[in-house]
Amino acid sequence: MSVVELHDVVKRYESGAEIIDALKGVDFSADRGEMVTVTGPSGSGKSTMLNMIGLLDTPTAGVVCLDGRHVTDFSEDERTEERRSELGFVFQDFHLLPMLTAVENVELPSMWDTSVDRRDRAIDLLRRVGLGDRLTHTPDELSGGQKQRVAIARSLINEPDILLADEPTGNLDQDTGATILDEMSRLKDEENIAIIAITHDEQLVEYADRVVRLVDGVIRT
């Protein structure tokens, strides 16, 4: 069964007199162990679609299912729980907290959880992305590629089902971007998760199991 499904999802932004349909009925699904790349021109609705899957935003119409469960009508607090336990996020500009070390940044999503100690898993994940010797470095002591690896480790800390990445290589040079995608695709198999990654870089599409092209709020195959 698909770990994520979008059925006829519409997202409409109304700002004053202007009405923008960012998504015009999108059907989409992804399975575990699958890496899907979403491409398309700027403003075509890629980030909007990812926000729907990531439960950061609610659709105007349509249905979102995670692991077969209807999550469309979840409350803000329920969606927060879902993000904490089932979803991992990687952003274009890393979004690490500057005053925390690499390990602490990786632990961040579980930092307020006193019931679990994720320290060991955090160290393990950092080793697996090749940062075993950078555990106590703060973000400003890390390169862009290293920061993104810390962000990837952070996204996996709570053993999610889905990793969502909005242009994870956008701020990196081509070689670094390639190794990052390589890293992600390896972790996807190890952790058996679905990865949905937005990218502008057509060259990086080769790491994907499947490519979805979004144009003007509609999926073109």
């Binding site: 935003d57 607090d77 927060t80 993000r83 979803l87 952003f91 979004h95 930092m111 952070r154």
Partner: protein
Amino acid sequence: MAWRNLGRNRLRTALAALGIVIGVVAICSLGMATVALEQQATSQLGDLTNEVTVSAGADSDTDGVTQEQVEEIRSIVTDAQVVPQKTNATTLEARNGAEARVSVTGVTEASALYDLTEGEAPDRLQSGALISADTADRLGLEMGDPIEYDGQLYRVQGFIQSEQSFGFGGGDLVIPVSGLSEQTYYDTVTIIASDGEAATAIGERLDTRFNTEDDERLSVTTFGNQAQVGGFLDTLSLALMGIGGISLVVASVAILNVMLMSTVERRGEIGVLRAVGIRRGEVLRMILTEAALLGAIGGLIGTIVSFTVGMILFHLITGDATGAFGWASLRYLVYGFGFAVVASVLSGIYPAWKAANDSPVEALRG
């Protein structure tokens, strides 16, 4: 976490803490100043506060307090010393020609009323005289010298300490009450109670006993209505606390501003926290903890500074810096610290609530 967030923008944290420090110092030192002024005033007026003064009332048949009335007062007031006095005035002349105008007080229980610089005030003044030290000085009088009043000679038994604080002017001559025997009645009766409260109680007792609404036989005066000093101090402390209150509001606004700034600045970061599944309540608590920490730091520094300022104030006003250690003044430090923490947390609520409820998508877009 909260601690490190504060550490990030040290300058801003320091400025915010400074605002709190100023607020705390303002409240504390104004409070402590009031306490110091109060202590100073009571110690200066201390001699008067526990006294009740009785004289003939407006509706009295006699121009003084009668012997019977004195006996009656004595029978009512058993818990304080009753000192009837007759007073007059005269001019003393020394052998060397110097003159001094003095008030003459005839009293038996001299020791109750006068502090002497030299000699000893007798509990029962029978034959000798007491005279103000400065008057004696002017007239060249020494211990044992004779003083004549109304054809009687009295030997100087002691020198009365001159009043510094209330300088009633003129000197005092104190002789046995028998020396004023041509005056039938007592001019005043002083009752010395253990403290101001007891004095007020005695005053009320005497007033109800001797006087009615429209028949005042004895005029009873206690410190309470002698001078509105107490009321004045209350007004003063209210005014000072008002100023303290304003600085309190200013400090709160400063904290609110800093907390707002820091949450606006970290909007993206807080968005990330929310995106990775940190609950709204947890974000709220984090920011409130920051605010409370800020308040505690500022409060602590402010308390220390205030304590120093308080000691200086006490030294300047009462001449005794250790007075600042009393609970009456120390409690203002507790108030000040409490204010710092409470105001910081209150000022943190709105920014914290705003940050926690911000949409993560909007926050991440920057």
